[in-house]
Every structure is written in structure tokens, then in C-alpha cells.
């Protein structure tokens, strides 16, 4: 809990700062719109958290999102009947990409940085080859509804986010969550005490792939087909997780803080936009956050250990 507190303070400060510029922001419709916009990144960050806390990385989620949206548009091609089967197929594809990442990383012992970087390149190359940079087809109105529409005043994406968040918290409180953290903290010790490290990590990659599929459904719904929809999302998700105080290398951090990190990043982007600061600054801000968060983690770590002993 002590580790998760700082991110909530930062988030609160940013929300107040946004409200100071735009008082309307804290009214329900505007705030729900903000949550709706943040939902895909928060879900991706939750997925990324599982991989990072188990001691690995998943760099493939951004291009997986793009691939999913482009494939969905081509298969649906505006037809209402195709919507639900394709939604199911997207979830399966996400799980499958995660399975491949996990198996290659754990069984073939390729470092996950390389495995998922390779997956990123393969997926973005395949999408480019298939579309030539201009996606074909269209998403149906039914598909778009999940990212655009709402149930009464509450957007569907907010409801999906609540469910996904609850599931993520529940999973981390289960036995699986504990073994996952143990595998990330010290995989040898975990293996010796009976944790099937390879299997646990593979499942973590599959959860990340599933999160990418859900994010793709929300993003495609929000703004329609685009071959750029997922660009840079993997780094945003990793930044969000790191911002939430989750240790790169695994073993420490909470999924709630990772999701709060995603909200914080989105709030920061909103604030930059409100102040009219160019979007080109966003990657730079992310870079500073990643380096600063990891550096701060390394600095505070020995002190904490000393205090504990």
C-alpha cells in the first residue's frame, strides 16, 4: 500500500490541475469522457503489469492492437452479422499471440525483450504487407458501439474497464497472482518451491495479449479503422506500469497502481493538450518518466532494505 500511495497523489494533483484550467472537467459527463478515453490504455497497462511483475516485458501489444483492428475491419467489412464472431476471433488472436510470446520466451529461452520486439516487427510488417498502409473494409456500427456508445450516461468502455479491472485485481489476489509475483521476484526460488515458472509466465503473456485485444476493440470502436491506431501503445503501457511504481524486472508492485499509472499518464497528456503543448512532446515526456522512475526505484531500494534489516 505504501508503494501505491505516491501514484494516487500524483494522479490527484494532475486532476486538480486539469480542473483548474477547465472547471467543467470534474462534472460527470466530462469526467466519464476522460475515463472512456483512458480505458484502452488502462486495460493495456493492467495486461502489461502481469508480464512485468513476472519479470518479463511485452513490447508487442501496440502492433497487436493495430493488427487486430485492421483484421477486424477487413473481416467485418461493415456487416452487422459478422460483428460478434469477429469480436470472439480477436480475443482468440490476442491469446494466441500471447501464447507464442510466452512459449518462445520460456521454452526457447529467448529474452522476452527480443521475443516481443520480434513479434512487434512481425505484426507491423505483416499488417503493412497486407494493407500496403491503407486498411480495407469497415467496422460495423455494432462494433463501433463498444468504443463510442454508452449505457445510459455511462460509456460501454467504462463498464468494460470496471470489469477488466475487477478481474485483474481478483486474479492478483488468487494463488496464481502470488506465484506470478514469486516467479518475478526470484524465479529459481519460486521453481524450487514448486512454481511452474514457464507456465505462469506464459499465462501472463496471454493475459497481456487478451488485454491488447480488448484495447483494440475499444480503440477501433472509438475512432474507426486506422493503420496507426496502436503506434507507441507498448511504450505508453510500460510507462504507465513503471509510473505506478511496479519494478521493472518483476517481483514488486500492484496492479491497481499500474492502472492508476495509466490514468496518470492520460491525465498528463490531457493537461499538456489543455495548455496547448504540442503532441510531439508526449514521447519525450514518456522517456523522462521511464528513466526517472527506474532511477528513483534503484536509489530508494537500498535505503528501504537497510531500514528493513
Amino acid at each position: 500500500m505504501r508503494r501505491t500511495l505516491p501514484i494516487f497523489i500524483v494522479l490527484a494533483v494532475l486532476l486538480v490541475a486539469i480542473a483548474a484550467v477547465n472547471p467543467y472537467f470534474l462534472e460527470p459527463p466530462a469526467f466519464l469522457a476522460f475515463v472512456k478515453r483512458a480505458a484502452p490504455l488502462v486495460i493495456l497497462a493492467a495486461g502489461q503489469y502481469f508480464v512485468i511483475v513476472s519479470g518479463e516485458f511485452d513490447l508487442s501489444v501496440g502492433s497487436l492492437v493495430t493488427a487486430e483492428v485492421v483484421i477486424a475491419a477487413r473481416l467485418i467489412d461493415g456487416s452487422a452479422e459478422a460483428t460478434w464472431p469477429v469480436l470472439g476471433l480477436m480475443l482468440v488472436l490476442g491469446l494466441l499471440a500471447g501464447l507464442v510470446n510466452g512459449v518462445v520466451t520460456t521454452l526457447l529461452r529467448v529474452p522476452s525483450f527480443i521475443t516481443t520486439l520480434g513479434m512487434l516487427l512481425i505484426l507491423s510488417g505483416a499488417v503493412f504487407l497486407w494493407t500496403g498502409g491503407a486498411p480495407r473494409g469497415a467496422l460495423s456500427a455494432q462494433f463501433r458501439e463498444l468504443g463510442r456508445g454508452s449505457l445510459g450516461p455511462v460509456p460501454w468502455s467504462v463498464l468494460i474497464l470496471v470489469v477488466a479491472g475487477a478481474v485483474a485485481i481478483w486474479v492478483m489476489r488468487s494463488d496464481f497472482g502470488h506465484t506470478l509475483v514469486a516467479a518475478g521476484d526470484n524465479d529459481r526460488a519460486a521453481a524450487l518451491s514448486g512454481v511452474r515458472v514457464a507456465r505462469v509466465r506464459t499465462v501472463a503473456f496471454m493475459i497481456s495479449g487478451l488485454a491488447a485485444a480488448v484495447a483494440a476493440i475499444l480503440l477501433g470502436g472509438f475512432a474507426g479503422v486506422s493503420a496507426q491506431v496502436g503506434v507507441g501503445l507498448e511504450f505508453q503501457a510500460i510507462t504507465a506500469v513503471v509510473l505506478g511504481g511496479v519494478a521493472l524486472g518483476g517481483g514488486r508492485g500492484s496492479v491497481v497502481a499500474a492502472m492508476a499509472g495509466a490514468f496518470t499518464l492520460e491525465a498528463l497528456f490531457t493537461l499538456l493538450n489543455l495548455y496547448g503543448i504540442s503532441g510531439a512532446l508526449e514521447p519525450a515526456v514518456q522517456g523522462v518518466i521511464i528513466i526517472a522512475a527506474v532511477a528513483l526505484g534503484a536509489v530508494s531500494l537500498p535505503r528501504r532494505r537497510a531500514a528493513a534489516s
Binding site: 480495407r136 486506422s226 504540442s278 510531439a280 514521447p283
Partner: protein, 404 residues
């Protein structure tokens, strides 16, 4: 136009970093920089458009404004063969007997505009029996690859070389090097040398930007709040569009409340427009420098539950469809893809020794409420460009992804 987005992103990121460093060295908070809509509203003529672009060239602007009202010469109904203000040059020295081998160095095929264009060009090649061979090399958006592509094509026995340059300045020496060896035809973006036999382009960016801005000036009541959406700063072909719009807005009573960059990203466009609707309560008009994210901008108004104000897009089918379905007050200036037919026609004219215009200015039509039905083609893919001039070509509409 169309550019290598990755390279531009990198340079934009660098520019952003520098801006950040510059901001750090002063005590003034970031909101006081010119990028802020509130701050820039106080500058210049009070219309919120900021300073004029450093890419602005008055003579080019004047020339394009004149061409907008000029009557193009050439066959009726075939705008890709028409010219405005043609200054014909002799090509007798290039005359040779067929069959011909045409070569094409293409900047990239990485966006829908270039895809539609390339398919149109290939179909045009198919029309001419005297073309025995057509060789294309795709530079994939890289200057260095295009430079070596142009060199490589010179050794392939081409009778004429068509170049669509990736960037203007960097490709100039490569084109200049090819000119003495064979007739060179340049289109879309230009080069800084007059050695090509002909340079083919639509009227240009100033005409595009002015067309959209003047539409808003007539449709939006005085004092109305305008949001201008641009893709990226610093790209010549996009800067001209904005600088012409700026002139039109500065002359008007409209209030430009924001000039924002979208990176051509639909989700970002939607978020920005949503933010502005929240902040100002009402936006009375939207100006865009390119149409790819126009539908996203329209959806932002729909999702906010407010009427869609007058807006401009481009001739992509998704926007035209939305325009028709939602009964928008809209206009669509174009940068027509039919210009991809012209280089083939020009190359054959040159090889047959017929005169061609030194500067081949193609007409640049605008889609309006009156002619919308002509350009709206429901069977075509959403990202298809209506002004492809490809309806009479063999293989239409399947080759362009349409349903028969």
C-alpha cells in the same frame, strides 16, 4: 504531397524536445508560448491564427489564387489531360519510335492516396499498346533509396523516367543527374531544378487551404469560433494549405480559437475536438488541412451530442458518405489522384515529339453540396479517393477495391 511520417515524427519529436529545453531556460510557464490558443489569440490581427508560416511565398500564393478561377484548356471531362496557363515546350529532340519502356521512381505507396494513385497509373499504362514495359521502383518513403533507385533505373534501358520525389531538396541532385541521359517527368512534389521536361501538379496547397477557409467564412456567422486541425508542422505541402487559410481567416470576422496538430491520428483528432467542445461549449466551424481524420472530427460532435458545424474534409469516400448521411454543411477541396494518369500521357507525348507544358497545372476541383452525388460512390472502399479519374479505366471498380 504525402510524406514519410516516421522521419517527420522523429524530427517533430526532436523539435518538441528543443521546445521543451527552450521552455526550461525561461521563467515563464509553458502556457505563455505561442502554441497556446489563448495566448496566440491576443497576437497578430486578433483572429488567433498566429504568425505566417516561413514556407509562405507570396508569388506562389498569388499565382495559385489566380489559377483557381482560370479556365483550364484541354479535352472536356478529362481533367487529367487539361492544363492551366500552359507554357508549351518543344520535345522534338526526345522523339523516337516505339515500343517504349517507361520507368517510374515512386516515393512510396504507404498511404491510401498513393495506393489509389498507383493503381490508376498502372491502369493508364494498360491503355497504351505502345508501352512494351513499365518498371517501377518503390523507395518506401526513404530519400536514400530513391536516390539509388533513380541511378539504377538509368541503367535499365528506360526511354523516359517518371519521378514522384519523396522530398524536394534531397532528390534534386538525383533528378538533375538523370536529366542529361533521358527525358525526365516529375509529378506531385517538385524538385529545385527546371531540367525535367515537364512538372505535373494540381494547382496546389494554397488553393486547397483557401477553398476550405473561404467556405467557412461564408457559412459561419461573424464572431464564430473556428478550430483548425493540422497534421504536422514544418511540412511544405501542408504549410501552404494552412498559410492560405490563415490569410482568409485574418481577413474575416471569425475567431480561430485553436490551431492543433493531430498527427493524422483519428483517435487523437477525436479527443482534441472533444476537448474544444468542452472548453468553449460550442465550436462553429472546423478547418482541416487534410481529410483523413475528418470523419473522426465529425464523430466527436456527434458523440458530444451537439450539431456538427460547417467543416471541410477531402474527397475520401468515408467523409463523402458521412456528409451525405448526416446532411453536413461541408466542402471538400481535393488534391486529385487523377494526377497519376498524367505522367504516362506526358511521357508518351514527349517520346512522340509532341509539345507539353513546362509546368503542367492540373485543375483541382472542389466537392460541394451540388456535385456531392457525382463523387459519392457507395460501392468503393471508405478510404478511396473519389477524384481518381479511374471510372473509365479497365478493371474499375474491382481493382480499386470496390464492389461491381
Amino acid at each position: 504531397m504525402r510524406f514519410s511520417s516516421r522521419r517527420i515524427l522523429v524530427s517533430a519529436a526532436l523539435a518538441g524536445l528543443m521546445a521543451a529545453m527552450a521552455a526550461c531556460t525561461t521563467d515563464s510557464p509553458a502556457p505563455s508560448t505561442a502554441a497556446s490558443p489563448q495566448a496566440s489569440a491576443a497576437e497578430s490581427s486578433g483572429s488567433g491564427t498566429g504568425a505566417q508560416s516561413k514556407f509562405f511565398v507570396q508569388t506562389d500564393y498569388d499565382a495559385q489564387m489566380a489559377m483557381r478561377s482560370a479556365q483550364p484548356a484541354g479535352p472536356e471531362g478529362k481533367p487529367w489531360e487539361q492544363t492551366i496557363d500552359a507554357n508549351l515546350v518543344e520535345t522534338a529532340k526526345y522523339k523516337k519510335d516505339g515500343p517504349y519502356h517507361l520507368c517510374f521512381s515512386n516515393a512510396a505507396v504507404n498511404n491510401p492516396w498513393r495506393q489509389v494513385g498507383l493503381k490508376t497509373m498502372q491502369a493508364e499504362v494498360g491503355l497504351h499498346k505502345e508501352i512494351s514495359k513499365f518498371t517501377m521502383l518503390d523507395a518506401e518513403g526513404k530519400d536514400d533509396k530513391q536516390i539509388s533507385d533513380i541511378a539504377e533505373l538509368q541503367g535499365k534501358g528506360c526511354d523516359a523516367l517518371i519521378v514522384s520525389p519523396n522530398t524536394t531538396a534531397t532528390l534534386t541532385p538525383a533528378v538533375a543527374g538523370a536529366c542529361p541521359k533521358l527525358p525526365v517527368i516529375v509529378f506531385d512534389r517538385g524538385v529545385q531544378t527546371d531540367c525535367p521536361v515537364t512538372f505535373i501538379k494540381p494547382i496546389g496547397g494554397y488553393a486547397f487551404g483557401a477553398e476550405a477557409a473561404e467556405f467557412l467564412v461564408t457559412k459561419v456567422p461573424a464572431g464564430g469560433k473556428i478550430l483548425a486541425l493540422r497534421i504536422l508542422p514544418g511540412v511544405d505541402v501542408l504549410e501552404t494549405r494552412w498559410s492560405a487559410a490563415k490569410i482568409a481567416f485574418d481577413k474575416s470576422d471569425l475567431d480561430v480559437v485553436g490551431v492543433e496538430f493531430t498527427d493524422g491520428d483519428a483517435a487523437k483528432t477525436k479527443s482534441i475536438v472533444g476537448d474544444y467542445i468542452q472548453r468553449y461549449g460550442k465550436i462553429d466551424g472546423v478547418w482541416m488541412d487534410a481529410g483523413a481524420t475528418a470523419v473522426a472530427a465529425v464523430e466527436a460532435f456527434e458523440d458530444a451530442g451537439v450539431p456538427v458545424p460547417p467543416i471541410n474534409g477531402e474527397d475520401q469516400e468515408d467523409f463523402l458518405q458521412k456528409w451525405s448521411d448526416a446532411k453536413l454543411t461541408a466542402v471538400a477541396p481535393t488534391y486529385p489522384t487523377y494526377q497519376w494518369r498524367t505522367p504516362i500521357i506526358a511521357a508518351l507525348k514527349v517520346l512522340k515529339g509532341e509539345q507539353v507544358p513546362k509546368m503542367w497545372n492540373l485543375p483541382q476541383p472542389t466537392v460541394t453540396q451540388e456535385n456531392l452525388a457525382t463523387y459519392l460512390k457507395p460501392g468503393m472502399p471508405p478510404l478511396h479517393y473519389a477524384l481518381c479519374g479511374c471510372e473509365d479505366l479497365p478493371g474499375y471498380p474491382e481493382k480499386w477495391g470496390g464492389k461491381p
